[in-house]
Amino acid sequence: MALLSVRNLHARVGDKDILKGIDLEVGAGEVHAIMGPNGSGKSTLASVLAGRDAYEVTQGEVLLDGKPLLELAPEARAAEGVFLAFQYPVEIPGVGNLHFLRTALNAQRRVKGLEELDAMDFLQMAKEKSKLVQLDAAFMNRSVNEGFSGGEKKRNEIFQMAVLEPRLAILDETDSGLDIDALRTVAGGVNGLRSPQRSMVVITHYQRLLDYIVPDKVHVMAGGRIIRSGGRELALELEEKGYGWLGLQDGKAAATKGGEARR
């Protein structure tokens, strides 16, 4: 059975339909890439899976390991093992990065009936995990994402993922805004977290990332639907031929512009 099953998912904001029937099955241990032009609904899909209440699900269902996900609050989904690496990580002034993460981890542990980690044990664990993405110790005690550069924010997301050890990780354009060395570091971190129990959905505009994080499957989204699915070679083909090849000719939505341009 798939770890994540998305069936005929429709969602909207206000009266604007954004997701128009998504079907997606991700097996345990698999990595799936989602590509697609700007505005095609990739981040919306990620947000709906994580439970953002700005989006209204109008049809369909989502199962995590066979359990319905959509009725759960975002924090309950997190405790079930859903993790979203944000396209735009949020700043929380005055709240220390480590304090934030320990609060999150312990909240999840409480739900699972596990003992909370004390500050010392947590610190040791966090230090160990931070090596994975080479996040400098200085970042640990700064306020959450405040004054972090774009690349530092993305690394911090993967660091959080390493600490929280989710079953399903959704990485929304974790590669955009990274220089080539940082890209390697982050991809290395992600690969280090691949395991037979952990599935990942990697949203990206660049096939280059998929050289480092090699996906089991690639999906192309457009207009709120998955219009094509295939193996790794689909990404290469897309890179070569552009979205026009799939019958999409929206010039503004050119994939090469990247996701960061919208904000």
Binding site: R52, E75, V95, F100
Partner: protein, 478 residues
Amino acid sequence: MTTDTLQELTRRPYAAGFVSAVEADTFPPGLNEDVIRALSEKKGEPPFLLEWRLKSYRHWLTLREPTWQAVTYKPIDYQAISYYSAPRFKPKKDSLDEVDPEILRTYEKLGIPLVEQQRLQNVAVDAVFDSVSVATTFKDKLAKAGVIFCSFSEAVREHPELLRKYLGSVVPHSDNFFAALNSAVFSDGSFVYIPKGVRCPMELSTYFRINAAETGQFERTLIVADEGSYVSYLEGCTAPQRDTNQLHAAVVELVALKGATIKYSTVQNWYPGDAEGKGGIYNFVTKRGIAHERAKISWTQVETGSAITWKYPSVILKGDDSVGEFYSVALTNNLQQADTGTKMVHLGKNTRSTIVSKGISAGRGQNTYRGLVKVLKSAENARNYTQCDSLLLGDKCGAHTVPYIEVKNASAQVEHEASTSKIGEDQLFYCRQRGISQEDAVSMIVNGFCRQVFKELPMEFAVEAQKLLGVSLEGSVG
């Protein structure tokens, strides 16, 4: 985030709202010279003090209640208030054994055990119950260091010379409407004297509790730090939940002589009234300090209670190289109103002041920062830095910033920064996605917002303040 969830989160009962069954000796409501004479006699005061009270009263009669502040309330009937209420026992206790067990229980319930042996923290407490100081702990240890820490009434009897010298020296009897009223009718409060060169060996703390109904609380605090001394003083307050408004008009005077440091922290949690704005304390307080040469006065306040807060802890930077600081968190929820800020008056050369104000508004709360930075001609090279940040939870509350700056010396450097933000839906979602509940997320974000101020508080107080902020916000997130 919807306003509904916000409201849900800020709605939580006031934990200190119980009434204690203590027999009390209470004056009938009303105010005239005879009441003041009776009060003074009851307290066995020397003639100079009665004269001072009467002078204040007569001056008060010529004053009008101020109306410039951004708060609204029904006119107060000063004849409907009782000006004295004391638990019925010999007013000053040498041993806690003599204190009414019901009062001890009240303080215990509030988390302030007065029984010294049980106290783990290094804090001496003076507990003021309605109008009277009921117990002061750790007196012996303090006496060894030469520190005087006692109730105001006791100071009147034991240290009249010090009192006479400093009473009204910072906040004159004629200062303002509420200060004049307080000077006429003040009941009790705390007195502190730190001798030359002494670093007070422990935190000093006064805990104010209003219990009786229909009484006002008018306490006075006077702290004198002699040359080169240091003291850190904490003030906490709560009151029972009643559906009528009660007046609290206190005066605090700080005197920091040459090279002395006074750190004064307040965690104010007077009953704020219910969600419809019924009841609650009117907290109209005058707090001011005077800093002599190289002295430093630092005010830190966390204001979460009261129906109305009206206070401007101020520093007169009289001596050269003196320093004034004001760190404030003011939270208003439901129908609470706060008009608070500070005055920094620079007289001496190279005087420096820092103001950090954090206003949080939730529900239909209204929060105003009102601050004055005044640099006089004599204040060569004065510097001020002011930062005012407001955080809004929901869309029915308000935040207002009213800075007044008066500079009469061109060498002054005055800096002002202000910001207003909302708790963003994106911040909350980010926290929740990581597994943190909405309520904890709000409290975390608000605490982060206040961090700059909380780090100025003594440890135990910082923890209490954080908890208090969480509680005060329950039922309000949005």
